[in-house]
Amino acid sequence: MVSDSTARYGSSVPHQPPSEQRGDPFSPAPAPRGPAAGRQSIHAHPEFRSVSAAYRRFGTWATVLSVGAFLSYVVLSSFAPGVMNQRLAGHLTLGLALALAQFAVIGMTAWLYVRHMRKNVDPVVRRLRAQVEDHEGEQRRLPAGRRLRAW
């Protein structure tokens, strides 16, 4: 693992002061000790809060919209067959067209999700992860015992 953590603090995380620092500058309380300390200071980090909120907001809305679109399609087909049986072209009815539209919605949502994650979430997560690993690398120099089998 990373042994020279000060070098990485200086290069990859610009807002981190190069001084010897246990927790994060934004953490409200003095950071607790133990292996989870790095993660908890990350938890209070404003960048983590915003990226976590962005991830949840997108995931929830995208799921509600795509699953909701399908379930409302099922309900419409069951309880409003008159609407769904309108002919559009040839044998294609509105209901059949909506069935095809489900596939389009799925493809679209998947594409938007991947794009959202690449653009808005992944870069921040990578930066925060480097910070956690730096912190844990620092901790590992202390006798950490059997950290990997802690649970």
């Binding site: 938890h43 949840r56 997108f58 795509s66 069951s78 309880f79 040839g90 992860r129 956690v132």
Partner: protein, 531 residues
């Protein structure tokens, strides 16, 4: 119908057997070769963690699409047109929940099983929670496994007519033993190999037949639709909703209930979830799931073409004459388009499909038994890796034998009923626990226990008191009548019940330590590429 109504003759049967056997031999050898050599438990549970996204996606697709999709869904399209197509859509939409909400945080916070994720989230009372989760996992796996094995008998019926007791027993024992060998010896690497082989065969097979169907109609979809309408003998009603689930408000509600269970249940099926934990890097997992969505979507579109094609080419009456559920549709279509050879290929494909899904289920159940139940509940985390590995192999054997016994006892059961119950349990017991532990700060161990046991009990009891078990001629006990719950699918009641119980239990129970959730939240989002 009599024996003469079956879809293949002696030559076709022999060809099917040879094809099936060659796939089995090749995959069995590979399972032995790729079996975990070192006694590493991680390799047995997760397999090769550095596979490419395409191969992961193929394996996920293979785990998910069972013979029920290949034969059952296409049959449903062939017999009921619009309602069948609606059902196929649900099969694909189910992946959205996995992709958008569950996959990445679950992998980031997990290790070998879902129980590990819960133990990290609820460390105070991890043993009772693991126990409850193991109970639910085993129930889901056992139901789905029995459905697959019973399905093998149903498939055999297509060839030789109603099989005698000896043939029946032999089929279940042979298929069950092969499945057990894959899971017990090959572990995840062996299971992955057969999933990938099966998924490639499935995609190639349905594409081939769909191309032949479309070619017959000069690539004119409207001509296919009009021929299907004509072949159904039902006129325009064939392409309108209500043929299958339109008998009345109860039946419509039943369909909604079924769709709800399918769309939400997938994200909580143990054998699919186990695949989500395998990739080492989050990025690879995401691309894998996108591949899986694409592949499943493609297969379902092709299945729609097959179902419509079967009605257009063979005719609805013939299909229904051989099997009233329509399971013979694709086989009849293949026979009409490509003669005995194509029928043999498709039927071998159906057997391999069934085998692969059963292997995945056995493995998921064995992981849960060995890791959650034995390793953490019985031995309290003190078991050595070699010891746990041995238990995992024995557990796979145990699951295989249990599945065979149940399948022989319940060979007449409708496979769809068993599979739908498994989906309902997954959606109402396991899913609330996953969603709450990933996204709700206030979730506690008591909430987890209540939603796991409560969701399980609610779904099982509702089915017990539904027309599935009593009061109609198709029930298990047609003469008795204790069906006070009118729907065949409990999802619409049991899923909200599971979520409600989880919420109530968390309000009542002692609160969690704040720092635990904070640590978990960071891990679920940021994770770490695992070494």
């Amino acid at each position: 119908m009599t024996v003469s109504a079956s879809v293949a003759d002696a030559f076709g049967l022999r060809l099917t057997f040879v094809l099936f056997l060659s796939v089995v031999v090749v995959t069995l050898f590979t399972a032995l070769l790729t079996a975990p050599q070192r006694d590493e438990i991680g390799e047995f549970y997760l397999g090769n963690r550095d596979m490419s996204p395409l191969r992961n996606g193929l394996a996920m697709c293979g785990d998910y699409l069972s013979a029920a999709t290949l034969l059952g869904s296409t049959g449903l399209v062939a017999l009921t047109g619009y309602d069948g197509l609606l059902y196929l859509c649900g099969t694909v939409v189910a992946w959205m929940m996995v992709l958008l909400l569950v996959a990445e945080p679950l992998r980031n916070s997990g290790r070998f099983t879902l129980g590990d994720t819960l133990a990290r989230r609820l460390p105070g009372r991890q043993r009772p929670v693991r126990l409850a989760l193991a109970v639910c996992t085993l129930t889901v796996c056992a139901l789905y496994l029995v459905a697959q094995l019973v399905g093998s008998i149903a498939l055999l019926t297509q060839f030789v007519g109603e099989p005698g007791p000896t043939t029946r027993t032999m089929t279940v024992i042979i298929i069950g033993s092969i499945v057990t060998i894959y899971a017990a010896i090959g572990g995840m690497p062996g299971a992955t190999f057969i999933q990938v082989v099966k998924a490639v065969m499935l995609v190639a097979g349905v594409t081939l037949v769909a191309v032949m169907v479309l070619n017959r109609f000069d690539w004119n979809v409207d001509a296919l639709l009009s021929s299907a309408t004509a072949g159904s003998g039902l006129g325009d009603a064939y392409l309108e909703p209500g043929l299958r689930y339109g008998a009345g408000p109860i039946s419509k509600l039943d369909f909604l209930s079924l769709q709800l269970a399918i769309v939400l249940g997938l994200a909580a099926l143990p054998h699919v979830m186990m695949r989500l934990l395998a990739p080492r890097r989050t990025r690879v997992l995401r691309t894998s799931v996108v591949w899986a969505v694409g592949l499943v979507g493609f297969v379902c579109l092709m299945a729609a073409v097959l179902g419509l094609g079967a009605t257009a080419v063979v005719g609805r009456e013939t299909i229904e004459g051989i099997d009233h559920k329509g399971d013979a549709a694709v086989l009849l279509l293949a026979g009409e388009l490509g003669g005995e050879v194509l029928t043999a290929i498709v039927s071998a494909l159906a057997f391999v499909t069934l085998l692969a899904v059963a292997a995945g289920l056995t493995l998921a159940a064995a992981s849960s038994l060995a890791h959650d139940l034995y390793g953490e509940v019985v031995r309290k985390g003190k078991a050595k890796e070699t010891e746990e590995l041995g238990v995992a192999r024995i557990a796979a054997l145990f699951m295989g034998v249990l599945g065979m016994l149940f399948a022989l006892l319940a060979w007449g059961t409708n496979t769809a009923t068993l599979a739908f119950l498994a989906f309902a349990i997954a959606a109402s017991a396991i899913l609330p626990t996953i969603v709450y532990s990933l996204f709700w700060r206030g979730f506690t161990a008591r909430g987890a226990l209540l939603s796991l046991y409560g969701g399980l009990l609610a779904s099982v009891l509702l089915v017990l008191f539904s027309p599935v078990v009593s009061s109609t001629p198709n029930s298990i006990y047609p003469d008795a009548d204790f069906a006070w719950f009118p729907l065949q699918n409990p999802g619409i009641v049991s899923i909200p019940a599971g979520f409600l119980l989880g919420w109530l239990g968390s309000l009542l129970g002692p609160p969690q330590e704040e720092t635990v959730y904070e640590d978990f939240e960071v891990r679920a989002l940021i994770g770490a590429d695992q070494r």
